[in-house]
């Protein structure tokens, strides 16, 4: 596993006490980490809290990071996923905050018809709803695979499980989502045709 030279330089500078390097490391990975945690926790406040916790922990323990064992992003994701499991343990059943989804609405582009835009928006909501029905472990696997494009080996590292387990979790999550999206898709199609 090789780390990008730029990230390594920032880590070394941060370890020497360069405050600017910490900020740069944060800005390099914050958006991705927040997106990962939002995909897993499906709650804005929880995702923000765990993002902050993960960065604080990572920066305080930066000297422990070994670039030969994993990429910095993978290490950071491992910390974040581990912390998100603490939230799962003390949490009620997940109910997605639809206000967050609405806030993420993309504006209608000039090439896109309103119907196409509506379909896209519905697909986004359907995916978010389908994710809530998955177990925490399956959700982690599918978000890491499709939302972040991690390899099975990286997923196994982040989830702290064998690679075969990571593969089967992704497959299982994929099949469950396919079933749910197929049901949703038929409903959406009927709705769109009646317009």
């Amino acid at each position: 596993m090789t780390e990008q030279p730029e990230t390594l330089r920032l880590i070394e500078a941060a370890l020497r006490g360069d405050q600017r390097a910490y900020a740069d490391l944060y800005h390099q990975h914050a958006a991705g980490l927040y997106r990962l945690l939002y995909g897993i926790l499906l709650n804005k406040q929880d995702a923000e809290d765990v993002t902050q916790e993960a960065f604080v922990y990572a920066f305080k323990n930066l000297a422990r990071y070994d670039s030969r064992r994993a990429a910095f992003k993978t290490w950071l994701y491992t910390i974040a996923v581990s912390r998100s499991r603490n939230v799962h343990r003390r949490q009620r059943p997940i109910s997605i905050d639809m206000a967050d989804i609405v806030r993420l609405k993309t504006p209608v582009s000039r090439d896109q018809t309103p119907e196409a835009h509506l379909t896209q928006q519905c697909a986004k909501e359907a995916v978010a709803q389908a994710l809530t029905k998955l177990s925490a472990r399956l959700r982690e696997a599918v978000v890491l695979r499709y939302g972040h494009g991690l390899t099975y080996r990286e997923i196994a590292e982040v989830m702290d499980c064998p690679q075969k387990t990571a593969e089967s979790r992704v497959r299982l999550a994929h099949n469950q989502l396919r079933e749910q999206l197929r049901d949703e898709g038929q409903g959406l199609l009927e709705e769109l045709l009646s317009l």
Binding site: A31, Y38, Q52, F59, D100, T106, K124, V127, G147
Partner: protein, 181 residues
């Protein structure tokens, strides 16, 4: 049937191009022959594309949100954390005091007095005369003790009173022996 199971097991990896060439060729050949597996393949492919497109957008943070989080993180990093020694100093002091008290306790109280009082109380409760221990270690009743003292040629002829007699706890065996006597 076996081919269908084989094909569906590797379908997702086939869609994502993650299969070795030989295995990928087998799956492709089966899909061209089997309509059922082809239908599943189409569904899987659509789901994969939907997930890749939608999950990439789900939870996209705004710049203001990221900045607010960074301010909190920077504040947290600047705040000095309590050292483990400081955090636990109260507990350490408490444990030390408790240990000292436990060490000093045997010297502070006269154990004989405590046990003797308890025995006196228990004897009174049970209606048994007070007991004492002779110099050779045998427990005897007060009446027997008086008899022993009378038989001994002592200068002090005054009989001991129960209150002035040091009451010492007899061993359970000795107590029963003394009662029998």
């Amino acid at each position: 049937m076996d081919n269908c199971q084989y094909c569906r097991k590797y379908l997702i990896d086939y869609i994502q191009g993650g299969l070795p060439q030989r295995r990928s060729r087998h799956v492709g050949q089966h899909l061209r022959r089997c309509d059922a597996c082809h239908a599943v393949y189409v569904q899987q492919r659509d789901t994969t594309h939907t997930l890749e497109n939608e999950l990439a957008l789900l939870g996209k943070a705004q710049d203001t949100q990221l900045e607010a989080m960074w301010r909190n993180i920077a504040f947290e990093l600047e705040t000095p954390q309590p050292q483990p020694a400081q955090a636990h100093s109260w507990w350490h002091s408490g444990a030390l005091v408790a240990l000292l008290v436990l060490c000093v306790l045997p010297w502070t109280f006269n154990l004989n007095q405590i046990v003797g009082t308890a025995t006196t109380y228990e004897s009174a409760q049970m209606g048994i005369p007070y007991h004492a221990v002779t110099p050779n270690g045998t427990a005897v009743s007060i009446a027997q003790r008086i008899e022993i003292r009378r038989e001994q040629p002592t200068e002090d002829a005054a009989p001991p009173t129960p209150t002035s007699t040091p009451a010492v706890a007899p061993a359970p065996g000795n107590l029963s022996n003394a009662s029998q006597r």
